[in-house]
């Protein structure tokens, strides 16, 4: 019988080739880009009148449904706010496993509880951007006030006019979620803007 396994391909397979580019000084690159396709992403969308109950159910299972603009971490699973009535659960697991784990607190039938779970592990691309020049770089693309985007805050906004979710995971690191079809374009934009600081694809 034929081998029927399929190998996944990153949307940045050709744009994120390892190496240093631009004005990298002795102090190292100003910005580092990392493909975080090791993370699975499942959106949790909850009807407004069911959010309190959903929060309770998730908390019972050790997860959280954080307020607007915030992220909450519990073990390997982080749940970040991403849009109106919508959160994204992020974990270094297989998508199906994350999906099942999130469905469990809703008795395996989230739809009956006003909750929609949707796997977006391929639909959203997770790009990690870090380095001392992170904020200077982001300011060239996003209109949000980066002073207010503190660690574990999230924002639904745009980079170079493409819709993105920004999650600051550390003072000098963000996880940027962008629609897969725009991933390469967004990366190329950020790479060009990072030339003056020097960047590393890693």
């Amino acid at each position: 019988m034929a081998d029927l396994t399929l190998a996944p391909v990153s949307p940045l397979a050709r744009a994120l080739t390892p190496g240093d580019v631009g004005a990298v000084g002795p102090g190292g690159p100003g910005v580092v880009f990392r493909d975080r396709r090791d993370l699975s992403l499942v959106t949790i969308q909850v009807r407004p009148d069911k959010q309190a109950a959903a929060r309770q159910a998730l908390e019972g299972a050790g997860f959280a449904l954080p307020p607007v603009g915030q992220a909450a971490r519990s073990g390997e699973v982080s749940v970040i706010w991403s849009a109106l009535d919508r959160w994204i659960a992020i974990a270094p697991w297989a998508p199906g496993e994350l999906h099942r784990t999130l469905a469990d607190p809703f008795g395996g039938d989230p739809r009956a509880r006003g909750v929609a779970l949707v796997d977006q592990s391929s639909g959203l691309f997770a790009l990690q951007v870090g380095g001392p020049k992170l904020d200077a770089l982001l300011a060239k693309g996003t209109p949000v006030d980066l002073h207010a985007l503190e660690t574990d805050r999230t924002a639904a906004t745009g980079i170079d006019h493409q819709p993105v979710t920004l999650w600051r995971i550390a003072p000098q690191t963000v996880l940027l979620l962008v629609g897969r079809a725009f991933a390469q374009d967004t990366l190329e934009f950020l790479q060009e803007m990072a030339l003056e600081y020097g960047y590393r694809n890693g």
């Binding site: 991403s82 849009a83 109106l84 924002a155 639904a156 906004t157 745009g158 006019h161 819709p163």
Partner: protein, 91 residues
């Protein structure tokens, strides 16, 4: 212009998509009154001054919102989610 998204806070208007005047009320379901539909869809007062407008935060949280804006000065006096406005207003 900065538009205060009730969810995300103030953002530049470039993140939003404009729909139009929020005041015309959609005829109820199953209404077949053609005149009412024509009024709802096509007739606008185009006023100078404060009006309510529908915008969607397409470059952000995707919420449909109703913005209280002055067409003469561009001053924005507030905003709310369209679904809240629907509950309070037209239903």
């Amino acid at each position: 212009m900065r538009i205060p998204c009730p969810v995300c806070g103030a953002r530049p208007s470039e993140e939003f998509t404009y729909r139009g005047d929020a005041r015309p009320v959609r005829p109820p379901m199953d209404s077949s009154d053609q005149g009412a539909w024509v009024d709802y869809l096509f007739f606008r007062d185009d006023e100078r001054g404060r009006i309510k407008e529908q915008w969607q935060h397409t470059g952000g949280c995707r919420a449909w919102i109703v913005v209280d804006r002055d067409t003469a000065t561009h001053a924005v006096h507030g905003s709310e989610l369209a679904r809240d406005a629907a509950e309070g207003g037209q239903a």
